[in-house]
């Protein structure tokens, strides 16, 4: 049993679970890492997150906390004296900006990426990946503005946007393998290229983002399941 009585119901493949792992790592916290099989969810997961039945869930003693961004804020608040700096900015305006961009990333970036990766036809794929490029242009601007010449969106230290966006890097590498195009265009997103290197090399992040090859295998299996499901839906009733 971990000394802080912390359990994470997560999965190595999930960018959302990775956020929580990185937050725990930033704060130097031990925890029991439970990898869920999403095709056969544990009773503990179903009971801990009855509303969404999704990972990640943080179990802290008797308390269950759901939704990755909310869990990260919880960790930041409860262990505010751990680690070198807080994950969320300290002033209210910067917090609002960080929350706005994390919300934007989880909506615009995440949806373009996942719909693009798993789209059933080439035209849709193209459309979603074009949207993704536009989103990345915007995020390059945001990075330049917020980093103020430093390594991270959070400045000198990794912050809320870094943790949220950074956990998608492995899936961007999957896109690289699937499509043959680089995850960030070096001409259009030079800031994000450097940021990705700095983020992946950060001590709190090392070992947490899944290896690309392993994730590619996972993505291929997922794509096959989704294609089969789509075919089943489209098949005329007998």
């Amino acid at each position: 049993m971990a000394t802080n009585d912390l359990k994470l119901l997560g999965g190595w493949f999930s960018p959302f679970a990775c956020r929580v792992q990185i937050a725990l790592s930033i704060k130097g916290l031990d925890y029991e890492n439970i990898v869920e099989n999403l095709n056969l969810k544990s009773d503990l997961l179903l009971q801990s997150n009855p509303t969404y039945k999704k990972i990640p869930v943080l179990i802290h003693g008797e308390k269950t906390i759901c939704e990755s961004a909310i869990i990260v804020q919880y960790i930041d608040e409860v262990w505010k004296n751990n680690g070198t700096s807080s994950i969320l900015p300290s002033n209210a305006y910067d917090k609002a900006i960080a929350r706005f961009w994390v919300s934007y990333i989880d909506d615009k970036f995440f949806n373009s990426l996942r719909y693009g990766l798993f789209a059933q036809d080439d035209e849709s794929k193209k459309k979603y990946f074009e949207e993704l490029e536009e989103v990345l242009l915007k995020l390059e601007e945001v990075f330049n503005e917020l980093s103020e010449g430093k390594e991270f969106f959070g400045g000198e230290n990794i912050g809320f946007i870094d943790v949220a966006f950074g956990c998608y890097l492995s899936w961007l590498r999957v896109k690289e393998k699937f499509t043959g195009t680089k995850k960030f265009d070096e001409a259009k997103n030079p800031g994000l290229v450097k940021w990705a290197e700095a983020f992946s090399a950060h001590p709190a992040v090392k070992g947490i983002l899944p290896e690309t090859d392993k994730l590619v295998e996972y993505a291929i299996a997922l794509a096959q399941r989704l294609a089969a499901a789509a075919a089943a839906d489209a098949a005329p009733p007998k």
Partner: protein
């Protein structure tokens, strides 16, 4: 001297969240009602990403997304706090606030459609309301996550007075005392809060507004059927 501007739309549930929060805390502000067909240059400058209301501008610094704004106001003016002190209770309140925020557009879809699509949308609204009814703790507390009005209540507030207007026009009724006893009480309690009661858009004006919107949506729906 604080300079606070709000760009909103009097009929928008999302704008109302910001107005209620500022009023609850007794914060003065200048309000600009936006004509969405003809957005002001100021609005486009302050919210270039989404070009939407509401936007709060505090001493020249803009913030958009209603619930991001509400949390900002709560953190900047701590009187009448909308979040509890305890980190776990806060996480729960944020969870419900996020759930409600995410599902709000979907809950309104019954107003956009007719026929079979509307029937499905009605069912989805009922399903979402059922989750709130059964899982958000309304059986134990007067408000979501507490005995005083909080973040999640502000998010859901539109259900107390804008939803009934939509229901009236379409001819449905969601929150009956039999089907949703807790939500039914919640609606009454929410509307009885003086700041809320005194800051609702006028009912008749809202009915007229949404009647016009319904005509537009029906026209779009029938146009869709004919292709």
């Amino acid at each position: 001297m604080e300079d606070i501007k709000v760009f909103g739309l009097w009929s928008s549930p999302f704008s109302q969240r910001v107005v209620w929060t500022l009023k609850l805390k007794g914060v003065s502000y200048e309000y600009y009602d936006e004509d969405l067909a003809n957005k002001s240059n100021l609005l486009l400058q302050y919210n270039p990403i989404y070009k939407k209301v509401p936007v709060l501008v505090h001493n020249g610094k803009p913030i958009s997304e209603s619930m991001v704004i509400v949390q900002y106001i709560d953190e900047t003016w701590p009187q009448i706090p909308l979040l509890p002190q305890d980190a776990y209770e806060r996480a729960k309140a944020r969870f419900w606030s996020k759930f409600i925020e995410e599902k709000s557009m979907q809950m309104m879809e019954f107003f956009i459609y007719d026929g079979e699509r509307q029937e499905r949308a009605i069912k989805e609204t009922l399903d979402i309301l059922r989750v709130i009814e059964n899982e958000s703790g309304l059986s134990e507390k007067m408000f979501i996550c507490g005995n005083t009005i909080g973040l999640a209540d502000i998010a859901l507030g539109w259900v107390a007075h804008t939803l009934p207007v939509m229901e009236e026009i379409v001819g449905v009724k969601f929150i009956t005392i039999d089907a949703f006893p807790h939500l039914h009480s919640w609606v009454k309690n929410f509307l009885e809060i003086p700041v809320i009661k005194n800051n609702l858009p006028p009912h008749e004006k809202l009915v007229e507004y949404f009647r016009e919107r319904r005509k537009v949506f029906l026209a779009m729906a029938s146009h869709h059927h004919h292709h």
